[in-house]
């Protein structure tokens, strides 16, 4: 009987590992394929091979050196928007979250409801309006306009997230400081902010990565190629002549995906912690 139990368990474990193996293949295949594409010589997809006979780095070189390639400009644009977005979002959301977490004021409850409701409505749903609005006030085709939209759009979700985290910081700390004569801003600066560093790091990271990954807003807002961000630029790379530029697209994508994936894997623990804390403890 015990023997039978043991074999049964062993068979089970084997099946579990087999299932993991299957998942690994399904996950790795497209990623591996992209890496292989990027080192295939030439640019015609019809003659590419999964394991090229003579691998080459010419496409990576092309991205940075060819006069036809705007890759560096796009990288610079994305980086600028990303930095402005991550710094701005920290300032905006930490102020809001502090007010909502620590003060009782008229309109507080409706404000919280509004955040919760608005985070369901992506900025995208207003795209008809955003497009017409931006063209009317002349902020279309501008990286500043794009950054402003990101900054405004991130508020509901992130304010909620940070507020949830601040709620977990004991209120006794502020009260002790208040007795010692510290003002609101001083409490915010010397007590709340240092303790909220983990969640603020998550917010900063989220908002730093968003401009690198987002494709639709840049597509609506930006029109001239020298203002493109990476995602939009790379999309237009392959959109015109899909099969002919794909190897260069693959090389360009890998240069974005690798750093983002690495940072992401390092920080995903905090991300999950922050999400569940923010959502359930509110």
């Amino acid at each position: 009987m015990a023997m039978k139990q043991k074999t049964k368990s062993k068979i089970e474990v084997t099946f579990i590992y087999l299932f993991f193996l299957l998942m690994f293949i399904v996950i790795a295949y497209p990623l591996l394929w992209t890496v292989m594409m990027s080192i295939n010589p030439g640019s015609n997809m019809l003659v590419t091979q999964l394991f090229p006979k003579n691998p080459t780095l010419e496409h990576y070189k092309w991205l940075f050196t060819s006069p036809n390639s705007d890759y560096l400009t796009w990288y610079k644009n994305s980086l600028g928007v990303a930095i402005a977005n991550s710094l701005g979002s920290i300032v905006l959301t930490s102020l809001i979250a502090y007010a909502f977490s620590r003060f009782k004021f008229v309109g507080r409850k409706y404000g919280l409801y509004m955040f919760l409701l608005l985070q369901m409505f992506p900025v995208l749903m207003g795209m008809v309006a955003l497009y017409i609005l931006l063209t009317t006030i002349g902020l279309n085709d501008s990286l500043v306009g794009l950054t402003l939209i990101y900054l405004g759009g991130q508020i509901p979700f992130n304010a909620w997230l940070v507020k949830g985290y601040l709620d977990t910081i004991p209120k006794e700390l502020d009260e002790a400081a208040k007795i010692d004569g510290a003002g609101h801003l001083r409490i915010f600066w010397t007590i709340i902010l240092p303790l909220a560093k983990p969640i603020l790091a998550v917010v900063a990271l989220f908002n730093f990565m968003a401009p690198f990954m987002d494709f639709l807003l840049p597509k609506i807002v930006l029109t001239s190629p020298e203002k493109y961000t990476l995602a939009l630029g790379l999309y237009n790379f392959i959109n015109d002549q899909f099969s002919t530029n794909f190897t260069q697209f693959a090389a360009g994508s890998i240069l974005i995906a690798v750093p983002i994936a690495l940072v992401f894997l390092l920080l995903q623990k905090y991300l999950i912690g922050g999400l569940t804390a923010g959502a359930t403890k509110g």
Binding site: L50, F103, A231, I238
Partner: protein
């Protein structure tokens, strides 16, 4: 006794009523009556300068909101609509200040009636700072939120009730309010009705099937990895999270190439072994299958990571107690693990459905909503949001796009309703 009380309740002889009335007539006057001159003058200046600086803007704005302009080429309906909406927002701010002024006059008068002395200048400032502090903190974010999120949404709602199309666009033409005509067209004209029904049903099927698949797969994998007998947990978890770490637009474009019927690797390298060629991009059914599979690939790691995090927090003694009682594995899953998981993650899972409902990226980047379908003006894989995109940027049917967006908003509100109910946040309100 009671009646005399009633009549004196509204009597102007009582300072609180007089102060209130004075503040209603002229902002700041009630405060001066309370002998708080500095505050009174300050409020009076704010109120007058508000009126002087915004009067013309508000006047044109409100007029424009109602008429949308009267002279073609000279009046720009869209600009008037925007100005009208901004006017409403400014007006609301003004009303808020006005109400604050009235309330303030009354509460000061009440304090005076109760014999409290007026606070000194410094104390007054401190009070103002303390009470106003949360508002100062919120103000920058609130202004951005209003102009970047709320104003566009309001503008979009407005457009849905106008006749704004490619052929009827300012400044050449004036727009006019058409009531619910756009919605009636959407449900009565054949081309709109057929397209709407097809796109709508596919959006629902897409949301339910794709999201459920990614949740089920994520859950299943999380339970498997959590099994005590499994080794190399860290490595397995890292690999399983990879699809989430790679930017989605990159992976979708790669899948789009992989599924390409002529040069894509799936047909060329894998299915050709079995003598199969599937028209992944040109046949609506297969395109839908492909999109759902890709979304499952993209979406399960988030759910997996989420569940893995929560699983580690399930107290082990609950399982031990179940073992003592002779509970089977299935019973442990059903009565201990699942309730635990769902309680902690329900709001986030609802968000997953809401996100897929509006998942523009995958639809557009995979195939731009194609293949085209005969007899409708949306592609075979278009969901509502990508259809709206096409209506806006390809055929400039702004009014229809806005009307459909409103319908989407109503759908989203259903998700939001469940979200509110599931979010524990409001149950814990009142701690502060």
């Amino acid at each position: 006794m009671a009646s005399s009380n009633d009549s004196s309740k509204y009597s102007l002889k009582r300072p609180r009523n007089l102060a209130t009335l004075l503040s209603i007539i002229v902002p700041g006057l009630g405060q001066m009556y309370n002998r708080r001159f500095l505050k009174g003058i300050f409020l009076f200046i704010i109120a007058t300068s508000f009126l002087i600086t915004t009067w013309d803007f508000l006047d044109i704005g409100i007029w424009g909101l109602f008429t949308l302009g009267t002279i073609p080429r000279e009046h720009h309906s869209v600009q008037l609509l925007i100005q009208g909406l901004i006017s409403v927002i400014v007006l609301l701010f003004g009303i808020a200040i006005y109400l604050f002024n009235i309330k303030d006059a009354r509460s000061d008068a009440v304090a005076k009636e109760n014999g409290k002395p007026n606070p000194g200048l410094l104390k007054g400032f401190t009070n103002f700072y303390n009470d106003g502090f949360p508002y100062f903190m919120i103000l920058p974010g609130l202004i951005m939120l209003i102009f970047i999120v709320v104003l566009p949404l309001a503008f979009m709602i407005g457009i849905a009730f106008t006749d704004y199309t490619q052929y009827n666009a300012p400044p050449r033409n004036l727009l006019s309010w058409v009531g619910f005509d756009n919605f009636i067209d959407l449900f009565s004209l054949d081309i709109w009705k057929n397209t709407f029904i097809n796109v709508f049903t596919w959006t629902i099927v897409w949301t339910v099937v794709a999201t459920t698949l990614q949740i089920v797969l994520g859950l299943f994998l999380a339970l498997l990895v959590n099994d005590k007998r499994i080794k190399f947990k860290r490595t397995i978890r890292t690999v399983l999270i990879l699809p989430w770490a790679v930017p989605a637009f990159v992976s979708i474009l790669i899948f789009s190439a992989l599924f390409n019927p002529t040069f894509g690797a799936i047909n060329r390298d894998i299915l050709s072994q079995f003598n199969l060629i599937i028209p992944w991009l040109s046949d609506p059914f297969w395109a839908k299958v492909a999109i759902i599979m890709i979304q499952t690939w993209l979406g399960f790691p988030f759910v997996f990571a989420l569940f893995t995090g929560v699983l580690q927090s399930v107290p082990a003694d609950m399982y031990e107690a179940a073992d003592v009682d002779g509970g089977t594995r299935w019973q442990k899953l059903k009565f201990i693990t699942m309730p635990h998981l769902l309680f902690a993650t329900a709001p986030l899972l609802i968000m997953q459905y809401a996100q897929n409902f509006n998942n523009f990226n995958i639809i557009y980047l995979f195939n731009e909503g194609d293949p085209a379908v005969r007899g409708q003006n949306a592609g075979g894989t278009d969901i509502l949001i990508s259809w709206v995109y096409k209506l806006t940027f390809e055929t400039n049917n702004y009014n229809m796009a806005a009307a459909i967006t409103i319908i989407m908003g109503l759908m989203i509100s259903i998700f939001a309703f469940f979200q509110f109910r599931k979010t524990a946040a409001f149950k814990e309100e009142g701690r502060y």
